[in-house]
């Protein structure tokens, strides 16, 4: 696959959250971290490191850009399409920038019974987020200021303390809509 076609397919559209994430640039530290991950797998099985490398990229730059896909592919001696097919499969990997604080609210049965849809509405209200244009392929909605973004997640495995959510890497449980503004105070 030629690179120009690939670029068309994997272009990462700008989002309101873009300004909160650094541009893609590989530092020595990232290189070292990547090497460490690659060594977890047998020498002839470097491809296994696709997910770990993509995680490094996403946590550093907020999302996975076309350059990032090419970098991962080159690192693992793969065709970029082999990386692209992984990126497009997993709901946990993003191709455009979320907000500075990405809020993932559990949508699944126990949390829904506990009021997670109401929680989502409340958070959107507080952050000024319009979710009307989200879809299966584009599940993330970003606030106009780019500070917050929201997404429904499928079962975060804490059904006993519903409703729950993840803000970046922080987990919050027992969070009915009434407590949403309290949560918000910590992420401004």
């Amino acid at each position: 696959m030629s690179n120009s076609i690939l670029n068309e397919q994997i272009a990462s559209p700008q989002s309101d959250g873009t300004r909160h994430h650094p541009p893609f640039e590989i530092t020595r530290q990232i290189e070292q971290e990547a090497e460490l991950r690659i060594r977890q797998y047998p020498n002839d099985r470097k491809r296994s490191a696709v997910l770990p490398l993509l995680h490094i990229v996403q946590s550093e730059f907020g999302f996975i850009s076309p350059e990032a896909i090419e970098w991962v592919a080159a690192k693992l001696d793969l065709e970029p399409i082999k990386v692209e097919e992984v990126v497009t499969f997993y709901p946990g990997l993003r191709q455009h920038a979320p907000g500075k604080y990405h809020i993932r609210i559990c949508r699944t049965l126990s949390c829904a019974m506990g009021g997670s849809y109401e929680l989502m509405d409340k958070i959107c209200e507080l952050a000024g987020i319009d979710r009307s244009r989200t879809s299966h392929h584009n599940p993330i909605a970003v606030s106009p200021c780019g500070t917050w973004s929201v997404e429904f997640a499928e079962c975060l495995a804490s059904c006993g303390t519903a409703p729950v959510c993840l803000v970046n890497n922080d987990f919050h449980e027992d969070l009915p809509a009434a407590k949403a503004s309290e949560l918000f105070e910590n992420y401004k």
Partner: protein
């Protein structure tokens, strides 16, 4: 060993028997190796390393331990499937992709007691001859991945991992591999594909039984977090004594995760089969919410068939006796009886619904999950799960006709048994069982004259004719 006390308000219920969750919510506990060692940790590992690997497997077989991930397959038997003539490397994978809706037990093990898991895993690696093990942690547990990585480094430093473990000739290395939010990676062959860096499309069995052709086409054992922790306790007690806990064929303890409409949702570790549904929901979980009554329960994660609380069940209980009719609340919580009642013990996620819940809404929520998570490899599942969601979308919106219910049912039965992995059943069973047990309620949500239902050609011609006639009549 020190007496165990728990954080105030989080004490175990008196009916519990804490084996795996002994240190969960324990007062003064933390996930460091120092704490674990001060509590007698890694003793069972030393004991196992003095045994022959085959003897460890033998003990696990004797214990009757069954997998806690969902299928309930005997662990020792699974280990025994590695071909005896094998010359390739053997891998062990810990499945910590906990993502079955309703299940939240592994979360507490990896967050609060990672060394128990590591000890169980090293013992298991020794038994099956694995030199490398991967812990596949779901992406939504970022904190757990950090804790487990730290625990691995600590264990390596203390000589419980790495070269010449505890001064023996056995060496073993562990790595954390993080998933990326896909439910299908909990399916063992899907997980293996994911670990190989591909899309996690499950492999077909036969021939791809992981114990013979798993990771990198080498023999691979994939076990759930809770299962691997049990291995440590099997070694501590000896297989025979462990088998004395619980019931015959349903041995040991298991962690039940209760969520939904009960007074006290949470995790409860009980002896398998020694507690009934009624005891769990009323005594342990404090009964239904104020002014409500139980309506339906999903007993083993959202893929398990739903049970109606007003139903009677015709089963042999206790085992070995004549078949008799029992109430919902009398069902003992073990693998076999739940299966006989038309559901399954699955992964231990008990989701409770009371009489305030509309079943069409519940089913739609479940269908949305499966439509989102189908990997798309097999047509019946990819197309079917999405159509089932669309139909229940209509049902919830009050726009479905009675015929839609028949369509929904027929779609479910066309998925069930026609896919590579068990996801097909997982998405079809909730629909099949819901229609079977709550047909009247679902029918009440449908409407007779429904403009959004497609007509056939004849009906369409008739409609146009009537419209034209009325229009003409209006003009004249």
């Amino acid at each position: 060993m020190a007496k165990v006390t728990y954080i105030k308000g989080k004490e175990p219920h008196e009916r519990e028997r804490r084996l795996i969750f002994r240190n969960v919510d324990r007062k003064g506990w933390n996930p460091s190796i120092k704490k674990y060692l001060s509590d007698g940790g890694y003793k069972e590992l030393r004991k196992s390393l003095r045994m022959k690997p085959g003897k460890v497997t033998e003990e696990v077989k004797k214990s009757g331990l069954r997998g806690r991930g969902g299928a309930g397959f005997p662990t020792g038997v699974k280990w025994g499937f590695i071909p005896p003539t094998n010359k390739k490397p053997v891998y062990l994978i810990c499945n910590c992709d906990e993502s079955e809706p309703g299940t939240f037990k592994d979360r507490y093990i990896v967050h609060q007691d990672p060394h128990q898991l590591i000890e169980g895993m090293v013992i298991s690696c020794f038994a099956v001859g694995a030199k490398v093990a991967y812990i596949y942690i779901r992406e939504e547990f970022p904190e757990a991945a950090r804790i487990v990585e730290k625990a691995i480094a600590e264990a390596r430093k203390e000589g419980f991992l790495g070269k010449n473990i505890c001064g023996t000739r056995f060496s073993c290395e562990f790595h954390v591999h993080r998933g990326a939010g896909a439910y299908i990676c909990g399916e063992e062959t899907g997980l293996i594909e994911s670990l190989e860096g591909k899309r996690p499309y499950p492999r077909i069995k036969p021939p791809y039984f992981p114990a013979a052709m798993g990771l990198y086409m080498c023999p691979t054992i994939v076990n759930n977090v809770e299962t691997l922790c049990h291995v440590k306790h099997v070694i501590a007690m000896g297989g025979e004594k462990y088998a004395g806990i619980g019931m015959p064929r349903n041995t040991g303890t298991r962690i039940l995760c209760v969520s939904g409409d009960v007074q006290k949702p949470g995790y409860y570790e009980i002896e398998v089969g020694r507690m009934t549904m009624g005891e769990l929901l009323n005594d342990v979980c404090g009964g239904p919410l104020e002014g409500r009554s139980f309506k339906a329960v999903i007993p083993g994660g959202s893929s398990a068939k739903i049970l109606r609380c007003s139903d009677k069940f015709n089963v042999t209980c206790p085992p070995g006796t004549e078949k008799r009719e029992i109430d919902f609340e009398e069902i003992p919580l073990d693998f076999d009886t739940l299966a006989a009642c038309g559901s399954m013990a699955g992964s231990g996620g008990v989701i409770v619904m009371d009489d305030s819940r509309r079943m069409s809404w519940v089913l739609n929520n479940i269908n949305e999950f499966y439509a989102h998570e189908s990997c798309g490899q097999c047509t019946p599942c990819r197309e079917g799960s999405a159509w089932m969601k669309k139909i229940t979308d209509r049902l919830v919106a009050g726009k479905a006709s009675a015929a839609d219910l028949d369509t929904l049912e027929s779609v479910a039965y066309q998925i069930d048994g026609r896919t590579i992995c068990a996801f097909g059943e997982a998405c079809a069973w909730p629909v099949e069982s819901m229609i079977d047990r709550f047909r009247d309620e679902l029918l009440a949500d449908t409407v007779e004259d429904n403009p959004s239902v497609a007509r056939n050609a004849e009906q369409e011609a008739q409609r146009r004719y009537l419209q034209d006639t009325i229009a003409k009549a209006g003009k004249s």
